[in-house]
Each structure stands twice: as structure tokens, then as C-alpha cells.
């Protein structure tokens, strides 16, 4: 007996010889938790979902949902018996039924449970009410994807699996749908695993995030920790939100960098004095100061609406990203000098 809602114990997920994720152990403790799996395309994220859903078999380890063994080397519960619902990235709507009929297939399954999901509300919040009587071949891929999501949601499964659920959805209401989706999943306590390559989506929706790289689940933690305390260089590179620069540990709370000089802060891991390390610098770690005497050359400037991301070149030709609020009056052009506030203090120092 296990008190965990879902347990994946040392499972190797295999779609082909080239596409597998080995020895994954992962636990969802509570009903209603939302897990997001992040990773590059083709790494095997979808295979994980398909295997949990019962569409693929396993040769090692076991998958247990609500104390029921779903898969092991010798056991394979059929997908239709698992009460797991999945919204595919390529929609799997039945082509000979219109959208409403398709969605009702989900509601039908939910009949006996009588949970409070209203079909009309779901249709409305997913912005598919205007195409509800159309057939799958008459609608856009984004609309098909949302209809598929509606069908899965309405089936009110024990476990909901969403494969890139919003990848084809217009940016204009993507965020709105994300907010509402999270609200519904939380209110209805629908335990969900979401596969996405959008880290912002994963950080917003997930109670925990898993990073899959090099055929492995590299990190499984809550979103804040995944972002701020990545456990490997590979995760840093994958998230692509910071840079590693060489530095030397000079004390309990300080290190020295050729590029930026002295940096202070709390190390999340102990390094002996004198250690040569790679320091993780994220865009928000450095502050801009026009008066500072530490000036670096601007090589690029990205306007992101709420902020600018400046890319600065250091003396050792490292390219450092720096976040600046977009209301900052003094904009710096490429090739201009950009001041970095000193002394540099970082909340938590992550090194490798």
C-alpha cells in the first residue's frame, strides 16, 4: 500500500531504440497536483504520457495509480480500464462527429460521477462555442486542440494527461485559458500531468516540474527551485535563462570573477575557498546603474514589453543577459556602454 496518488517506480519509457527515457522514478503525492514535464522535442515526453495512459507497455519498473498497479513487466491494464484521459497534441477528435458530439463523449464518461463540470462553461472558456456544430475538418488546429482538451476535461478522469495542450492556441487568449484551466483543475482536484516545451506555461501551471534531458528525468522539483536552483549544467542550458561564467571562490559568501569582479551572496552548496567554479548568472541577478564604473558593451537588446533583456559582452567575451524594466528611461543602443551596479550581490549563488 502506498499513500501516494501516483507512483512511477524505476520505469524505462521506450518508444523506439532512439526514443526512450530510462529509469524514471516520480511521485505525485496528492490528488489535484499538477505536474509539468519539460524537455526538448523528440526526447520522449509524449512516450511517458502514452505509457501512463496504457498505450505503450513497459519492460521494467511499475506504475501505480491510487494503489492500483497499472503497468509492470507482467501486468498491463488496458487504457480503457484505467480511467485516465489524455488530450493528444495532434487532436484525436472523431472525424464523423461534430465538436459538440465529440465533447459529449467525455461528458458521457463522467455521467456516473456527477461532478460539477458544466459542458457549456467549458466550451465557452475554451472559446469554441462559435464552432461547436462544425466537424473537425472544418476548424483550425487550435480549435481542434481546445475541443480535445474540453473532451478530456469533461471526462473527469482520475488522472488527466495533456500533451502540449495549448501549443496551437493563439497567444491572445492562451494566458486566459491557462488561468481558467488551472482554476478548474484545482477546484475539481483533477490530478494532471502536462507535457510542454513552454517553460513559462510549466512554471505557471505546475505544482512540480520535471526536466527531461539526455534520456533521463534530470530534475523534478517545484517550479521555483527548477528555475533558481537548477541541479545541472544541462538544465541551465535547456532553460536558457542564464549563463555560466568562470569564477573563484574567495570566502564563505564571496567569489571573484574576471568579468565582473567581486560577487557576494549565499551559496546554496558549499565550495572550499579557492575552488574554480562556473557561476550561474540569470538576467535578474545584475542591476543596471548608469553611474557605475563597471561598463560592458551592449551587443543586443530585446524588447519584451514589460522589460528589456540586454546582452552584454564581458572582457573575456562572455555574453551576459541583464533584465531592465521597460520604463527605464535611458535606453542603450547596441555598441554603447552599459553600467552594472556595484557591489554585485546575488540572493543565492548557484555554481557548478
Amino acid at each position: 500500500m502506498t499513500k501516494n496518488f501516483l507512483e512511477i517506480d524505476n520505469v524505462t519509457f521506450t518508444a523506439s531504440a532512439q526514443n526512450k527515457v530510462s529509469n524514471v522514478s516520480l511521485t505525485i503525492e496528492n490528488q489535484g497536483d499538477i505536474i509539468c514535464l519539460l524537455g526538448p522535442s523528440g526526447i520522449g515526453k509524449t512516450t511517458i504520457l502514452r505509457t501512463i495512459a496504457g498505450l505503450e507497455k513497459i519492460n521494467s519498473g511499475k506504475i501505480i495509480l491510487k494503489n492500483k498497479l497499472l503497468s509492470s513487466k507482467d501486468v498491463h491494464m488496458e487504457p480503457e480500464d484505467r480511467n485516465i484521459s489524455m488530450a493528444f497534441q495532434d487532436n484525436s477528435l472523431f472525424p464523423h462527429y461534430n465538436l459538440l458530439e465529440n465533447i459529449k463523449f467525455g461528458a458521457e464518461r463522467n455521467k456516473k460521477k456527477k461532478k460539477g463540470l458544466n459542458i457549456n462553461e467549458i466550451i465557452k472558456f475554451l472559446h469554441i462555442d462559435h464552432v461547436i456544430d462544425k466537424f473537425p475538418h472544418q476548424i483550425s488546429s487550435g480549435e481542434a486542440q481546445r475541443a480535445s482538451l474540453a473532451r478530456s476535461l469533461l471526462s473527469n478522469p482520475d488522472l488527466l494527461l495533456l500533451d502540449e495542450p495549448l501549443s496551437n492556441v493563439d497567444q491572445s487568449f492562451k494566458e486566459e485559458i491557462q488561468v481558467k484551466l488551472k482554476q478548474i483543475l484545482t477546484e475539481q482536484k483533477i490530478t494532471t500531468i502536462i507535457v510542454t516545451h513552454d517553460s513559462y506555461e510549466a512554471f505557471y501551471l505546475g505544482t512540480k516540474c520535471g526536466i527531461i534531458l539526455d534520456e533521463q528525468l534530470k530534475q523534478f522539483d517545484d517550479p521555483y527551485n527548477v528555475y533558481h536552483f537548477p541541479n545541472s549544467v544541462e538544465v541551465v542550458n535547456f532553460l536558457n535563462r542564464g549563463i555560466l561564467i568562470p569564477a573563484k571562490v574567495t570566502g564563505e559568501n564571496s567569489l571573484e570573477s574576471v568579468d565582473l569582479g567581486t560577487i557576494t551572496g549565499d551559496f546554496i552548496k558549499h565550495y572550499p575557498k579557492g575552488s574554480e567554479v562556473q557561476l550561474l548568472l540569470q538576467p535578474e541577478d545584475l542591476e543596471h546603474d548608469d553611474q557605475s564604473n563597471l561598463k560592458l558593451e551592449v551587443v543586443d537588446r530585446k524588447f519584451r514589453g514589460t522589460n528589456f533583456i540586454y546582452t552584454l559582452k564581458t572582457v573575456s567575451n562572455k555574453l551576459i543577459p541583464v533584465f531592465v524594466h521597460s520604463h527605464h528611461i535611458h535606453q542603450h543602443e547596441v555598441d554603447e556602454k552599459f553600467g552594472i551596479k556595484r557591489p554585485i550581490n546575488i540572493d543565492h549563488i548557484v555554481c557548478f
Binding site: R50, D90, S92, E108, R109, Q138, R151
Partner: protein, 539 residues
């Protein structure tokens, strides 16, 4: 446990394929048996002729059916011109005319002092018209008869495929700067390839097993050779061996096609974004050319033989009065309903079994078994009778059990079973073609909504493929109505259909008397086509 559920489908599919493959295995086994002296004579004399004539016939028919079938399908699918809606369904009517009846009409019309001569004489008075009227006999006559009788396979399947092509594909071609010609050859035609190949495969198999028209035109092909080996020389083993060569040829075609297709996938994308085709309005000479092409095909394939048969029926009314129409009609319909239902149900189960089990062995066995379509009906019937006789005497006789011969030989059951083996390929290929359009994620979506394999089959696949089923039903009905040798051999005593009646008259050199049953055969087949044409044309 889930494995058990899959195995039921696997076992059902395996069993069906094995039953259909049994006669082929019988034919293969003949390779190791001793044949009579006729075998040696044949090797030294006619074998080369059989091969040469069969190849010429096959190539000629494939070429003509491809041009006519794909040409008509392309015109009615992509263009709007006067009469296009009429041609969409009327071109299918050619299915109603068997090649042997077409051959009678062709000869009767163009022969010396035939119908063409009578028309010219009535119009312009006496004259030496015979030397100016072309003669379509021999190989040319056979190729024309078979092609105009069979092009419908290519037309129907290609048209369906064109219908499901998204406008996106065509616009993509335009976007890449393709001319109309290049779009046709690079996009439209290749994406309809499975349908065209399925149609041509059926045409090839029908052609190679045709007996009525080639024997009428006196061409020596494998089929006539098989017939002669059995009827004239009483050498069943040699007949089987010749069938074996035919089979090898058909299997070669299948393998060639499968290799050339490589791993290309043809099912309709269900990612959304499908856009219905916009039809191009033709005007001026282009509109006239499109109309003329379709009208010419319709006239030659359907109007011509119908009018010829009608002409004979009218000028020889006595033969019509002699027919027991109610009996002939009910016999024909009973056979159609029983056989079609059995064929569609089992072909469906077998295809779904293949899909669910994803077994390469089963896939290969199915491909192998459906090549039995190339075995001439006459061989199938004889193989079936031989097998039942052997089983009766060797197995049941041992245990002193009652004979099963009356149940299977000279009975409706036996007749339907041989039809089943003969036409399984048609049913199976049709359903397979429909299945190619259903993405696997559709099945998986259903499973994840709690649908079992059976419920997915019943509630998702069957409704989705209902138009395909109807279409296959029509094709089967027409084939069964037209089928001759199996019905002749396997039918109960005094059990007549329109086809057997027409054949018996024709074999007695009473072509005029054969006209009335032939005409009724065409009318019934046309009726089947018309009542279901709205499903075929449903856009």
C-alpha cells in the same frame, strides 16, 4: 488482463485470412505434384502464348483503365462544367456491364452486317459499308471490352481519394510556384496513389482471371489455358500449376507496389486545418473538352451495350416472354445479400484485427490471402469441391459420419462460401483503404474515453466507414450479379440467375436470347448503383 482482448481480434483475423488463403495453398501445393503429358505439350507449344497474351492484355487494360478512370475522376472532382453532377454518378454505371456482355455487344455492333451496318443502311440505303466499319476483335476487342467494363474501379476509388484531398495541398503547390500540370503530377496524383493502385490491382486481378470475353475473342491466356487443362485434358494439377504461375505474377505486383511505396503515409491528417477544395469553373473550349471526354466515356461504357441489348430484346420479344423473371430476380438478390453481408462483416473484423494487433505476420498473411482474387473462379470452385470430397471421404468416412457433401456442394451455402473466397480481396481492400484515413490517435482517444476495442469498433469505426461499407457493398453486389463460372458450378440444381441464363443462351449461340437476361442483369446492377450513388457523391 488486456492481452486476451487483443488476442480475440488477432485470432479472428488469423482464422479469416487462413480460410481465404487455403485455396492458394492448394494451388501452391500443386507445384510438387505430378502432372499429365499435357504439361509437356503445353510447355513446348502454348505456354509462351499464354504469357505473352496475358501480359499484353494486362498492360493494355491497365493503361486504358488508368487513363479513363483517373481522367474522369480528376475532371469531376476538380472542375465544374455542364453535366458534371450527372457524370459523377453516371460513370459508375459502367460497373453494371460485365466484360463478356460488352464483348457480345462490341462484336454484334461492328461485325459484318451487324448493328452498325443496319444503321448505315437505314440512313443511307444499300452500300458496301462492311469494309469501312472497323473490326474490334481479337486482342483489341478484349482490351476494350475489359477496360470499359472495369475502369469504374479506378474511377470510384480515385474520385473518393480526390474528394478527401485538402485545398491546402493544392494551395501549397501554388505557393511553391507549381504549374497546374506540375501540381497534378507532383501533388494530386501521388497523394491519391493508394486509391489508384487499389483500383488498378482490382482491375489487374479481374483481367487476369477473366474468362468470358477472352474465350469469346479466342485469345489464349492463362485463364483459357487453365480451363482447357481441366475441361479438355482433365488435368486438375496442371490447371492448379498454371494458376500458381498467375499467383506468383500477382504477388510480384503486390511486392513491387509495397516496396515502391516505402514508408509514405497517406491517411488524412486530423490535425485540423482541413480546407474543402474549391472547384474551378471551366468555360469555352475547356468546358467542351471536359464534357466531351466524360460523355464519350459514359456513352461507350454504358449506353452502347445497353442500347445494343435493348435493341435485341425489342426485336426478339419471344425470348423475353420465356424468362421466369421473379425466380431469376429473387435468386440473384438472395445471393447478393448473403454474400455481401458475410464478406463485409468478416473483412471488417479481419482489418480491425490487423489494426489492433499491429502484427507484421498477420499483415503479410492478409496480403498473401487476398491475392487469391487472381485465381479464376473456376479453379476456386473445383478446389472447393475437391477439398469437400476429400474431407468427406478421408476424415468423415473414417468415423462413419454422415456425408457433408449435400450441405456444401450444389447448395447456396457452398456457393456463398466460394464467393466469399473469391471476393474477399475486394471487401478487404476497400475497408483497408477506408482504415488508412483513420489515424491511430482516433482509436487511442476512444480507449482513453473508456471505450473497449469492441465499442471503438462498433461506435467509432463502423459509423465512420459507413459510406465505404456501402460502396464496397455495391461493388460486391455487382460482382456477384455478374459472376459466372462459380455460379455455374456451385449452384443448386435448376437454380438460375440472370448471369447463368445469359451464358447458357450465349453458349448455345443464341446471342439474341441472351440479350434479355443480360439487360435485366444490367438494370439490377444499375439500380444498386443509383440507390447508393448519393452516398458516393456525398460531399
Amino acid at each position: 488482463m488486456g492481452f486476451g482482448k487483443i488476442n480475440i481480434w488477432y485470432a479472428a483475423s488469423l482464422l479469416i485470412s487462413l480460410v481465404v488463403a487455403a485455396p492458394i495453398l492448394t494451388v501452391f501445393s500443386s507445384f510438387f505434384e505430378t502432372t499429365g503429358n499435357y504439361s509437356l505439350i503445353l510447355k513446348n507449344t502454348f505456354l509462351y502464348d499464354y504469357i505473352y497474351n496475358s501480359l499484353v492484355l494486362l498492360i493494355g487494360v491497365l493503361f486504358l483503365t488508368f487513363i479513363i478512370g483517373v481522367g474522369c475522376a480528376y475532371l469531376v472532382s476538380f472542375y465544374n462544367f455542364p453535366g458534371v453532377n450527372f457524370f459523377k454518378w453516371s460513370l459508375i454505371l459502367s460497373f453494371a456491364v460485365p466484360a463478356y456482355i460488352y464483348a457480345y455487344s462490341l462484336t454484334a455492333f461492328f461485325e459484318n452486317y451487324g448493328t452498325a451496318f443496319s444503321i448505315l443502311k437505314n440512313l443511307f440505303g444499300e452500300g458496301n459499308y462492311n469494309s469501312h466499319i472497323p473490326k474490334f476483335d481479337g486482342m483489341t476487342g478484349a482490351i476494350i471490352s475489359i477496360s470499359f467494363s472495369l475502369f469504374g474501379y479506378v474511377y470510384v476509388l480515385t474520385r473518393t481519394s480526390f474528394h478527401y484531398q485538402s485545398q491546402n495541398l493544392i494551395e501549397l503547390g501554388k505557393n511553391l510556384g507549381f504549374s497546374k500540370k506540375k501540381s497534378f503530377f507532383k501533388i494530386i496524383l501521388p497523394s491519391a496513389r493508394p486509391a489508384i493502385v487499389a483500383g488498378l490491382s482490382l482491375v489487374a486481378m479481374e483481367t487476369l482471371s477473366d474468362f468470358g470475353s477472352v474465350s469469346f475473342f479466342g485469345i489464349s491466356t492463362f485463364t483459357t489455358g487453365i480451363y482447357n487443362a481441366w475441361i479438355s485434358f482433365d488435368d486438375l494439377t496442371l490447371a492448379n500449376r498454371l494458376s500458381f504461375y498467375l499467383l506468383i505474377f500477382i504477388l510480384g505486383l503486390f511486392i513491387l507496389e509495397n516496396f515502391s511505396r516505402k514508408k509514405a503515409q497517406y491517411h488524412t491528417s486530423s490535425k485540423g486545418g482541413f480546407k474543402s477544395k474549391s472547384v474551378i469553373n471551366l468555360s469555352g473550349y475547356k468546358s467542351f473538352l471536359a464534357f466531351s471526354f466524360c460523355m464519350l466515356v459514359f456513352s461507350i461504357s454504358f449506353l452502347f451495350p445497353v442500347l445494343q441489348m435493348l435493341y435485341w430484346t425489342i426485336i426478339f420479344p419471344k425470348h423475353l416472354a420465356d424468362l421466369d423473371l421473379i425466380n431469376l430476380f429473387s435468386n440473384t438478390i438472395i445471393l447478393v445479400i448473403l454474400s455481401s453481408c458475410l464478406l463485409i462483416a468478416l473483412a471488417f473484423i479481419s482489418n480491425y484485427g490487423n489494426r489492433v494487433s499491429k502484427s507484421k505476420f498477420l499483415e503479410a498473411l492478409t496480403t498473401f490471402s487476398i491475392s487469391g482474387y487472381a485465381i479464376p473462379g473456376i479453379i476456386l470452385a473445383v478446389a472447393f469441391i475437391t477439398f469437400i470430397s476429400w474431407f468427406d471421404s478421408s476424415i468423415l468416412g473414417q468415423f462413419e459420419m454422415n456425408s457433408i457433401k449435400p450441405i456444401f456442394i450444389g447448395s447456396i451455402l457452398g456457393l456463398v462460401l466460394v464467393y466469399f473466397i473469391r471476393f474477399y480481396s475486394l471487401a478487404s481492400n476497400g475497408i483497408k483503404s477506408g482504415y488508412l484515413k483513420i489515424n491511430y490517435s482516433i482509436d487511442e482517444g476512444a480507449y482513453l474515453l473508456g471505450y473497449s476495442k469492441f465499442k471503438t469498433f462498433k461506435n467509432i469505426h463502423v459509423p465512420y466507414l459507413k459510406n465505404s461499407i456501402l460502396l464496397i457493398g455495391i461493388l460486391l453486389a455487382i460482382e456477384i450479379i455478374k459472376e459466372l463460372p462459380i455460379t455455374l458450378i456451385m449452384r443448386p440444381f435448376n437454380f438460375e440467375t440472370f448471369a447463368t441464363k445469359a451464358y447458357i443462351y450465349a453458349s448455345q449461340d443464341l446471342l439474341e436470347a441472351a440479350a434479355a437476361p443480360s439487360l435485366f442483369l444490367i438494370i439490377i446492377a444499375s439500380f444498386f448503383i443509383l440507390i447508393t450513388s448519393k452516398y458516393i457523391l456525398k460531399d
